[in-house]
């Protein structure tokens, strides 16, 4: 680790043409991509919501379907950001050598990493919007406050895009990402109150849950769905932003090291 790896990010607007590049690639497969954004959360929400929901009493003062919808919005955004920041970003960096091509222009590595964060956030935002559209169309939320779920989905995307990039910067190959999904993403989904209230878990797991970013996302989303202002809102936002900044900086340092080889 050399000192210049730790320099503060030097960001410029030159990340925009890279974002445009990713968007142009996405546009070519847009329909498949949008269907993908819709299918997975719909299957979970309808399957679990109606199937399991019919067996369950009200949860947190709402039907199970409404309870689940808030969690689905968050984890679906998380998944989409993570996949983009891991698999797609790795392909661009390693397999297609897109980064190498871009680095020969006046664009710097800092610009590229910023473009990857912004792009993965954008893509997960589309995923979040797809789930929100379903929520509104199904009439699961009637509150104006649910409009705040739009910026929330951006914040959740940003948080997990940044965290995911740390793994990409460290990955020797695609198989490495299985660790992240099985050891981080899946447990996070189960411990963050997506499918059932955190209070159902033993105290130790509740403590663990309190430090997970997805819990904070769900704690914002669920009250908003029901038309209430979330308690401790600023704390939750600060945690998500903190994880985002941490992920961005650490991944940038690691990418600088990786590409100096």
């Amino acid at each position: 680790m050399k000192p210049h790896f730790f320099a503060l990010p030097r960001l410029s607007l030159r990340f925009i043409p890279i974002w445009q590049r990713h968007f142009l690639v996405w546009k070519k497969l847009a329909i498949t991509s949008i269907l993908g954004h819709l299918a997975d959360p719909l299957i979970y929400m309808l399957g679990l919501g109606y199937g399991l929901g019919s067996l369950l009493p009200e949860m947190g003062g709402t039907s199970y379907l409404v309870f689940l919808a808030a969690g689905t919005l968050c984890y679906s955004t998380m998944n989409s950001a993570s996949f983009e920041a891991l698999y797609s970003c790795f392909a661009r960096m390693h397999e297609q050598r897109t980064w190498d091509a871009i680095l020969n222009t006046p664009v710097t590595l800092d610009d590229i990493v910023l473009s990857e964060v912004v792009w993965a956030t954008s893509k997960s935002f589309m995923s979040g919007l797809a789930v929100l559209a379903v929520i509104w169309l199904m009439g699961l939320s009637h509150s104006v406050l649910s409009l705040w779920l739009i910026p929330l989905s951006l914040l959740v995307g940003l948080c997990f895009a940044s965290l995911g990039l740390i793994m990409t910067a460290l990955a020797p190959g695609y198989s490495f990402f299985m660790y992240y999904f099985t050891l981080v993403i899946t447990p996070m989904m189960l411990l963050s109150g997506v499918f059932f209230p955190v209070t159902q878990m033993p105290a130790l797991l509740q403590t663990l849950s309190a430090v997970l970013p997805l819990s904070h996302a769900v704690d914002i989303a669920r009250p908003l769905m029901n038309g209430a202002i979330p308690p401790d809102l600023l704390l939750h936002i600060a945690v998500l932003l903190g994880y985002a900044l941490f992920g961005f900086y650490v991944s940038l340092v690691l990418f600088r090291r990786r590409l100096s080889q």
Binding site: P17, I18, R97, A101, T108
Partner: protein, 304 residues
Amino acid sequence: MNAVIYAQNLHKSYADLKVVDGLNLAIKQGECYGLLGPNGAGKTTTLRLLLGLIEPDSGVLELRGHAVPQQARAARLRVGVVPQMDNLDPDFTVTENLLVYGRYFGMKDDEIEARIPMLLDFANLTHKRDAKIPTLSGGMKRRLTLARALVNDPEIIFLDEPTTGLDPQARHLIWQRLRELTAQGKTLLLTTHFMDEAERLCHRLAILNQGRMIAEDTPQALIAQHIEPQVVEVFGEQVTQWAQEHAAQFSRRFEVSGETAFCYVDDAQPLLAHLHGHDALRYLHRPANLEDVFLKLTGREMRE
């Protein structure tokens, strides 16, 4: 100092390996300059250092008058790069690759689109303008990579082994294009393993070995300076025995490599007359070339 590419006492090590070890370069505008060397000689690392993609351990670097790596971004605005491995965007068409790449230089879309017909023509790819990258041949990809490196109208073009892996026809077309670029006054810095390529294209070239420059001059001067003018290659099963007995007598210097004896001579006639009497041996008489210089200076053993 009127060098557009300048390096002074450049050093770069990875772990304990000195990849670039005290390199000096001063390349003038309009020159086609070649970096030659066996694998691991530090050619690609030198290019990456000059572009400001990696930090040197020590030394002074300037590209187009900008200090590198500090002002590498400004320097790269008018530099084009043809990398060793193709990294075209596989999801895009030929035209889209040029458009998207031009944007990285801050060019406006209409500015790039105005240049695209000329670039496609230069690369002989006008008929493939809407083709996807995976459908192109190796030579076409290489030409597109060259066209892409010209999208920003660069003053300097870096070419890292531009013809490796191409068939002879494709190589000749690339050579022709590189000569056109030199004629336009562009500065070219190229690395290559192909001595004929370097001999044809380069005004000056440097031979690198283990990160150090061991010779630098025009191709003709290097040949005149380092090697005897004539070479007779003698081959056949009994060549080792023949070489031990006779080669020294007829040549200033000789080397045996596998089943070939390389005899370096000022006048080949006595040796050729002698060889007429040996039916089991075949031979090839030719003028000395850059490959002879290269092998003499860097040795014949494999670098892996």
